[in-house]
């Protein structure tokens, strides 16, 4: 009861609601991603109590992922990458005049999938945290490397480019004073770089500014969004009947989503595609891909469930599940919290509130999402030039506001240009962010481990958990290559 009172307190509930509306707005505009929405909201949360800030982040991420499905259904343009799989059957249904049914179903499945993901997070995180207490420097080193290798393999583009991105992220994380010796590295006598590259301006640049650059390069005609023909309305009865009929698809989608989300580096977009693929391959429904309700249910229940899953490694090990939780980890450090197994004992109260907020978000998603569906046509009336300019200036002020530093604006600009160049060179961004956030953890644990063993690397491989993690990394990196060799051999 006390928890509910605290969550409904205006200091938490009001920012949460505002953030959810912001998430709907950003997610529904094609080209603006959920990660970008989270990166833009973080500077606003800096001056709030941690639970209010984290509530805003949770609210934004869940609603933005759902809102991405709105243009996916009506216009065949995914609002966020996580909505790509929902585009296929959602748009086909929309062409048949059933767009509102598809979206209502999508809304309910997103809320239910999200709820299952959060419940699994609540159930699995504390026991996993107890297990994580057995980890020493050796295991944490491999865990960080495992997170990076997963991100490199699972992100778009080829694995080598993913690994390049991760290595560059690690390299950037070495900028600043070396914690062990106090020696400044790659700072070029700049006092602003002594603490390292500010994480939030870097994130805002990578996800905010680079997205804007990507969009404006298309020119005026291409960056505008076409108008929609169907009038949106809620189709509750039919949706509930469809949900009951396909209840196992929802549960399967949510379980797949949570599991994939929990893998370091894999987020809602991969979860949605895998769930859609599993449904298509296992179901007898031949209409999947041509306007099937199953084709809407499977990816939409998976993408929101994945968000709950991404918080599992983030909270338990301090290893982000995807780019959104990578930003959240940066924000948690900013609030003075240390993600890892001890957070469940040191900040027990906050974790309980966080879980409560996550459930509350799923409940609020239905009314706010419905308003989002209704308001979608209004969002589309805003010209791209206005929206993109607003993103540029919020990115600038957001970067500045963290430390009242003009230098951080230039950090944001540099990372915006890096993000833009990465897009041009087909290099995925997510591994770089993970490298940036995991860099200190990997370096410190490697060095401390080597100091403990007097330079002997063998203990990194002889401890049971370390060895398992090492083998997992090897399997992650060369497994797909071996599989493809086997496939080629079999086809011959």
């Amino acid at each position: 009861m006390d928890l509910i009172t605290r969550l409904l307190d205006p200091s938490v509930f009001f920012p949460l609601t505002i953030a959810m509306f912001f998430g709907i707005f950003v997610g529904a505009i094609p080209g603006l991603t959920a990660t970008m929405a989270v990166a833009l909201i973080i500077p606003v949360t800096y001056y709030m109590p941690p639970i209010a800030g984290l509530a805003m982040v949770l609210g934004v991420s869940f609603t933005a992922i759902f809102a991405g499905d709105i243009p996916a259904t009506f216009l065949r343009i995914p609002g966020t990458p996580a909505s790509g799989a929902a585009t296929l059957d959602g748009f086909e249904l929309s062409k048949k005049g059933k767009g509102s049914l598809a979206l209502t179903l999508d809304l309910f499945c997103s809320a239910l999938g999200g709820l299952i993901g959060v419940l699994l997070l609540i159930l699995t995180a504390p026991p996993l945290a107890k297990f994580a207490l057995k980890f020493t420097n050796f295991e944490y080193f491999w865990l960080g490397v495992f997170g990076l290798s997963m991100a490199a393999v699972l992100s778009k583009g080829n694995t080598i480019k993913g690994l390049i991105s991760a290595s560059l992220g690690l390299l950037i994380s070495t900028i600043g004073i070396d914690v062990t010796t106090g020696y400044p590295r790659f700072t070029f006598r700049n006092a602003e770089l002594m603490d390292g590259v500010s994480f939030i301006p870097a994130m805002i640049g990578l996800f905010g500014l680079s997205e804007v650059l990507k969009r404006v390069q298309l020119g005026r005609k291409v960056m505008e969004i076409p108008a929609i023909s169907e009038k949106s309305r809620l189709n509750v009865r039919e949706s509930l009947i469809a949900m009951w009929k396909h209840k196992f698809t929802i549960i399967r989608g949510a379980l797949i989503g949570t599991f994939i989300g929990a893998l370091p580096g894999a987020g809602a977009d991969i979860a949605a595609w895998v769930s859609y693929g599993v449904e298509k391959n296992t179901s007898r429904d031949s209409s999947i891909g041509k306007g099937s309700l199953r084709g809407v249910i499977a990816p939409t229940s998976a993408n929101n469930a994945a968000l709950g899953g991404t918080w599992i490694p983030a909270l338990v090990f301090g290893v982000p599940g995807d780019s959104i939780t990578a930003i959240v980890l940066g924000a948690m450090l900013m609030y003075g919290l240390r993600p890892g197994p001890l957070i469940f004992t040191e900040s027990k109260d906050l974790i309980q509130q966080l879980f409560g907020v996550a459930i509350l978000v799923q409940i609020l998603l239905i009314p706010i999402g419905w308003i989002g569906i209704k308001a979608f046509s209004i969002f589309l009336k805003l010209k791209a030039g206005i929206v993109l300019t607003s993103v540029v200036f919020f990115s600038i002020i957001g970067s500045y506001a963290m430390r009242n530093s003009f230098f951080d604006i230039y950090v944001m600009l540099v990372f915006g240009l890096i993000g833009y160049a990465f897009e041009k060179l087909d290099i995925p961004l997510a591994p770089m962010i993970l490298g940036l956030i995991l860099g200190r953890m990997i370096e410190d644990n490697l060095r401390v481990g080597l100091i403990k063993t007097k330079g002997n690397f063998l203990p990194f491989l002889t401890r049971p958990i370390s060895l398992i993690l090492f083998l997992l990394i090897v399997f992650t990196l060369i497994g797909p290559w071996i599989f493809s060799l086997f496939k080629k051999h079999a086809s011959k």
Partner: protein
């Protein structure tokens, strides 16, 4: 070509890292040499050199394997509008000097209107929307969160 460029950039970066980190001191405790500040950057530089070699090799293989296609007129959707990209970059670059002189609110109105106009919005609409944007920024950051936004030398001079 992309791989070749990437490979060369990585090589230059890795060599620069090796060069800079060679000046970092050794970490010696009681006569024993331990992994110091140069340890991790050096490992990363070596990894980057390996990746750069791979990219350069792939780049060369693609370069000689593929017959060069004649330059074709690009479709509208494939054209890169560099003016737009440069406008955004310049807006961010000049933001600090502009707000130092005009202040944050006026700076956002001026730069915002200019950027919106360049991105295809009518000039009077640009001024209206950039004024709304500046007000929103002011209310959220200055009023609500008490984050001091730059007043600008012009405003300070006029008040005096």
């Amino acid at each position: 070509m992309k791989d070749l460029i990437l490979g060369l950039v990585l090589l230059i970066l890795a060599v620069a890292v090796l060069f800079l980190s060679s000046s970092f001191p050794n970490f010696v405790v009681r006569g024993e040499r331990l992994p110091g500040p140069k340890f991790f950057p050096t490992i990363l530089a070596i990894i980057l050199i390996c990746f750069s070699a791979y990219c350069i090799l792939i780049g060369f293989m693609k370069f000689f394997k593929k017959p060069r296609e004649p330059l074709e007129q690009k479709k509208e959707s494939e054209k890169i509008h560099m003016v737009n990209v440069l406008s955004v970059i310049l807006s961010v670059t000049f933001f600090v000097p502009v707000i130092n002189f005009f202040g944050t609110v006026l700076g956002i109105i001026l730069l915002g209107a200019a950027l919106m106009t360049l991105l295809g919005i009518k000039w009077y609409q640009s001024f209206i929307y950039s004024s709304l944007l500046a007000s929103l920024v002011y209310v959220i950051f200055q009023v609500l969160f008490k984050i001091p936004l730059a007043e600008g030398t012009l405003f300070s001079f006029l008040v005096r």
